[in-house]
């Protein structure tokens, strides 16, 4: 049994941020550095969560706990890059999330790393480190670019770099798009093929093409 937090998602999809009302005596788990502002009823404690596993996923090692101690409090959370935010309430359920997507959750949500290993993550050219979130309670996540969701019933294909999160019941495998000619020439690289029934959250932009765009504008190394 877990209560639902009162919250709002504002300024979507480009500068999305999350405002959560914390009732007196309740605590919120928040990704380190995501707190933008809060009132003085909210007290922060830093916790080491997940240990080495979280180090592997590229996530910061720390999750902070924000507690409204004596009176109800309010906290505003914003991810580090411009983009979108979204929310799901898990009811004794599991969701898999891209390594950097976690923003905050209720105390009833457990986060664990689920490394994709060589066969799945490595060849996709993208770091497909997934965080497994399960339990009961609110969960907030973010991405660079906008987030849209797709209800899957059957098969659905998503570029590996565009996956934000997906529900635990979906089967997935990394594969190529089209024939072998398409694999090298299509510019689409590898994709994640989902099957079954569930929901996928997809981001509309990736960071890596932006990085490539800046390449010709960077200074030349002078010796």
């Amino acid at each position: 049994m877990s209560m639902k937090f009162e919250f709002s998602l504002d300024k979507k999809p480009d500068y999305g941020f999350i405002t959560v009302k914390i009732p007196a005596g309740q605590t919120l788990k928040v990704e380190a550095s995501a707190m933008a502002s809060m009132d003085t009823n909210v007290i922060m404690k830093t916790k080491m969560k997940g240990g080495l596993g979280r180090l592997l996923t590229g996530e910061s090692l720390f999750i902070n706990e924000f507690t409204a101690e004596k009176a109800p409090g309010e906290i505003c959370l914003a991810p580090s890059s411009p983009g979108d935010v979204d929310h799901i309430y898990l009811d004794n359920d599991t969701i898999f999330m891209q390594n950097s997507a976690f923003v905050a959750s209720a105390m009833g949500i457990e986060t664990a790393t689920k490394w994709q290993g060589l066969t799945k993550g490595f060849f996709s050219g993208e770091k497909l480190f997934l965080i497994k979130c399960s339990g009961t309670g609110d969960l907030w996540f973010n991405s660079y670019g906008g987030i849209f969701s797709v209800d899957v019933d059957g098969d659905y294909v998503v570029d590996t770099g565009h996956i934000v999160a997906f529900t635990g019941g979906l089967e997935y495998k990394i594969s190529k798009v089209g024939g072998y000619k398409s694999l090298f020439l299509s510019g689409e690289g590898l994709v994640c093929k989902f099957s079954g029934k569930g929901k996928i959250w997809v981001q509309t932009r990736k960071v890596s093409p932006m990085v490539s765009f800046f390449w010709p504008f960077r200074p030349q190394k002078s010796n």
């Binding site: 906008g146 565009h162 089209g178 689409e188 509309t204 932009r205 990736k206 200074p219």
Partner: protein, 226 residues
């Protein structure tokens, strides 16, 4: 092919709904997600008419060398497209007409639309920005993207657009490259450099931001290339 643009102007995507067995063409690298039953063919040019020369021309125009042709199954399907930089997208329905599209702005088009390299003469070389253009002609949908927001300008007579801010324009417009100010010196000191002066009656679609300007604002502050 029914296209819906969502999440503009900063994070736009194009949702392309395909009828059973329908085919459309998209720039390589633009696919975000799609139904599981889609078949994909990669060619250098138009489906069935592939030639290396046309692929090469497209590469020089700032587009991907290769085009992907998506065909839906007997149940129809959906493909979601985006672009690499933050910005908007638009759909233009062509009725046996032609658009001239700035090199990097082309995203996708239906089968009734032909894409080819467009030579706008030596004047384009001196503009210092996207030198290359695509001629997009026929009947059907064209999907374009921009860096920043897109705004259309109805031109009747003359109109001036900075060379880095053009997304596309209708064929009945012609342009010349000229200085923004009265003299070359004032044009460059004013930071405006060269501009396109359009003449005629038609539409020019502009983008609110100039990718070159953004690159030059951020690039020099990054670590040197190694």
């Amino acid at each position: 092919m029914n296209v819906k643009i969502e999440m503009g102007p900063g994070s736009a995507i194009a949702k392309v709904a395909l009828a059973p067995n329908e085919t459309f063409t998209a720039e390589g690298g633009s696919m975000v997600a799609m139904s599981g039953n889609m078949s994909i063919e990669t060619t250098t040019h138009k489906k069935g008419k592939g030639s290396i020369a046309s692929g090469l021309k497209r590469m020089f125009s700032g587009e991907g060398f290769f085009m992907n042709h998506y065909t839906a199954s007997a149940n129809g399907g959906e493909v979601i497209l985006s672009s690499s930089l933050p910005g908007d997208m638009m759909v233009k329905e062509l009725q046996n007409e032609k658009l001239v599209v700035q090199g990097g702005s082309y995203v996708a088009s239906s089968t009734g639309v032909d894409i080819d390299f467009e030579w706008q003469g030596m004047k384009s070389v001196f503009s210092g920005e996207s030198i290359f253009w695509l001629g997009v002609r026929g009947t059907g949908s064209v999907v374009l993207n921009s860096f920043g927001a897109i705004y259309p300008i109805e031109v009747d007579g003359e109109y001036v657009v900075d060379t880095g801010h053009i997304v596309a324009f209708t064929e009945n417009l012609s342009f010349t490259i000229s200085k923004a100010g009265k003299s070359i010196l004032s044009s460059f000191l004013g930071g405006e450099g060269l501009v396109c002066k359009f003449k005629g009656t038609g539409t020019v679609w502009c983008q609110s931001h100039n990718p070159q300007g953004f690159g030059q604002a951020v690039g020099p502050k990054l670590k040197p290339r190694s």
